[in-house]
């Protein structure tokens, strides 16, 4: 229970092998992605949506976790906050990853076809929101806002390393308190724009919350994987203990349940009301082989993580927690695949084209992590909450 007042922390450099691995993954993934784009442009574009949303989940979810820590005054996560700060740098990269999709807007979004909108009263009614100009404005504005918040919050955090000034914590609390409602609105826009509007006739008022639950899981899982890998290889020294891992696991477990709750709420209302304008989206996912993915989603995204994280030991043991975190990240990919892909084709498909994009996104996350890691101290050494965070006991 004795911790030195001054943290003795020497940052180790990441092995260069990791950088090569990241480049190999990006190279292979990008080659497959470009090949897929030439073979079947629309299909590649739909894959790009999945990848884009996956990266956005991790990036924006990480930023939300950081702001949550500041607003809630949490101390347990302070020693690990830098991992989320590093992962949040994916936000600008995500913006870039979205650009190829603008080449295929017509293939992705039915509402971009002027003649289709003209002939369809519903699409006409939605056109003040669903038009390419406003869509682009929303896209740019969303990412600009996120990047600004990311920039200021992490800059304050890094400045604090040298000065240890409480002022920066206060500033970040204020920024975070503003960011959280902004996040709620923008993430809803993101989910509606890029997933819900793929089927422009469909609507679900809970959809933003549904995607939000996924972003939290993805961000937590990505951070957990990184933290445990760093911990196992001695990058954290002996600073982290089971209590920290338990808290990460418990938060993840909570969001597994939250996702199930939201997903079921959405399904139950659509199923109960049985209105054709809502049910067609579900029946699309109950035909042509998609029904197996729908059923698998319940198991992959809820049953397995629920059982796997239920025991106390599962959350305290870093090895087991790491496996569950990898699984949850995979589950989020399956979730996005299930949300996006049935729109492209009515029967289930998975081929080499679908492999390239996940590979590419893993490579991107890895590379972003490596590059950002070099410029940031892994421990927020100047944070006034750090000592309490390191002394954290359940």
């Amino acid at each position: 229970m004795k911790t030195p007042l001054q943290i003795e922390f020497q940052q180790k450099a990441l092995p260069t092998r990791l950088t090569s691995l990241a480049w190999v993954m990006i190279g292979a993934g990008a080659a497959l992605a470009v090949a897929a784009w030439y073979v079947d442009g629309p299909r590649a574009a739909f894959n790009n949506v999945v990848m884009f949303m996956m990266l956005a989940s991790i990036g924006i979810g990480s930023l939300f976790l950081i702001s949550l820590e500041y607003v809630a005054g949490a101390v347990w996560s302070t020693p690990m906050r830098r991992v989320s700060e590093i992962l949040a740098f994916i936000i600008p990269v995500t913006g870039v990853a979205a650009l190829p999709m603008f080449l295929n807007l017509h293939d992705l979004f039915h509402w971009t076809h002027a003649e289709a909108v003209e002939a369809d009263a519903i699409l006409k009614g939605k056109s003040p929101y669903l038009n390419v100009t406003f869509f682009g404005i929303r896209f740019v504005a969303t990412f600009a806002i996120w990047y600004l918040f990311y920039h200021f919050i992490t800059r304050n955090s890094r400045k604090q390393d040298s000065t240890g000034d409480q002022l920066f914590t206060r500033r970040n609390i204020r920024l975070s308190a503003i960011f959280i409602p902004v996040f709620a609105v923008t993430v809803t826009f993101l989910a509606i724009d890029w997933i819900m509007s793929l089927e422009p006739h469909w609507f679900s008022t809970i959809f933003g919350v549904y995607y939000f639950s996924g972003t939290m899981l993805a961000a937590l899982a990505a951070a957990t994987i990184a933290i445990i890998l760093l911990h196992e290889n001695g990058y954290f020294g002996t600073l982290l203990r089971r209590d920290h891992f338990y808290s990460l696991g418990a938060l993840m477990f909570a969001f597994v349940n939250f996702w199930a709750y939201i997903a079921f709420s959405q399904y139950l209302l659509i199923w109960y009301a049985n209105l054709p304008e809502e049910t067609f989206w579900m029946t699309r996912r109950w035909e042509g082989g998609w029904e197996f993915l729908s059923l698998a989603l319940i198991v992959v995204h809820f049953v397995v993580p629920y059982v796997g994280l239920l025991a106390q030991e599962a959350k305290m043991n870093p090895r087991r927690l790491k496996i569950m975190a990898i699984w949850i990240l995979f589950a989020h990919f399956i979730d996005l695949y299930w949300l996006v892909m049935p729109t492209h084709h009515e029967s289930f498909f998975f081929g080499w084209m679908e492999v390239g994009f996940p590979l590419l996104s893993v490579g991107i996350v890895l590379l972003v992590f490596i590059l950002r890691y070099r410029k940031t101290s892994l421990i927020p050494t100047g944070d006034p909450k750090l000592k309490r965070g390191l002394d954290f006991r359940l």
Binding site: M1, F264, L268, W271
Partner: protein, 379 residues
Amino acid sequence: MQDARLYSLSAIFQTPDEIAHAAEQTVERGYTAFDVHSPYPLHGMPRAMGLKASKLGYVTLVFGLSGAALALFFMWWVNVIEYPLVIGGKPLFQLPAFIPVTFEVTVLMAAIFTVVGMLFVIFRFPNTSHQLHDTPYMKAVSSDKYGLTIQALDPLFDEERVREFLQDLGAVEIHRIQFDAEEIEARPRIFEPRFVTLLILVALLVGPSTYIILNHVLYMPPFDWMMEQQKINPQMKSELFADGFGMRSPVEGTVARGHLPYPFKGQPDLAGKFLVNPILPTESVLELGKKKYDTFCSPCHGNFGDGDSRLRGQFPNPPTLHSDKSRGWSDGMIFHVVTEGQNIMPSYASQIKERDRWAVVHYVRALLRAKHATEADLR
């Protein structure tokens, strides 16, 4: 056990670090019947004491799963077996709609039985006394000291050695805790007449008083919003129409859905010639026909169409259906008679729906055939 009246040796320590160290040492010495007391939760103490995870979790698990099973079973029984009612065109067993209830019952059962299990199994309620109660030791460790108590029933317990051990650990005081005379005699008190009587009294008090409060003191009339609607009932006056009639006749030249007029009114010959049974005699159709026949036809025609009326002369008995004349009738003719009536038999068009009447025709055919089975039918 050296002394039946000795409960434990309890030592008092000054600092949390000392007590954590003492707990570790006690585990190392191999004592198992020991406990630690502190005025507030001590981080890391469960680990220092080598505590295993509580068994209470299994109670929660078992009762949670029982709750889920019970809720699902009950809803299945009500909705599928006891009172099958199609709601919103959904199947009788509508799993998605059952999930919220199942979830609630699971949580409720798990929570209630965790508390009950904790009270009755672990705390041995209604036994409320404990050897350490009202001792100077307990007073000290519930304000500003930390205590370690090693029970005499520990197999390794030896009073002198334990005393020495505790002193070596740095205990400032060591108390000898003894059983009270009545505690030695203590038995589980859950079936004690006094406790059982108390439970019965509580039940007798709570049940009727709840009934009286809800039904008489705080009585709320049942909602009658659906009964008291603003609408025109048959025979009522209407302010809307100039002629003041609430009941309107259909628009000229229209036919309401499901009310196609019967085209063979008073023309049994044409009906027998042109009407064809539109439904197939499947098992469910015969079941339906039997149900309708037994309800509407059998009082006069008898259960098997023999014309043996149950009405004991209150209404003239009809002739048997098994006569050569009626056996020669076509399906359309039978349908016509059911629809229009014949002689003193009234029309059943308003009691039995059209499709059901055709099912009755099938069933009557089956009855006729049963009494006049041919060689081929028996094979």
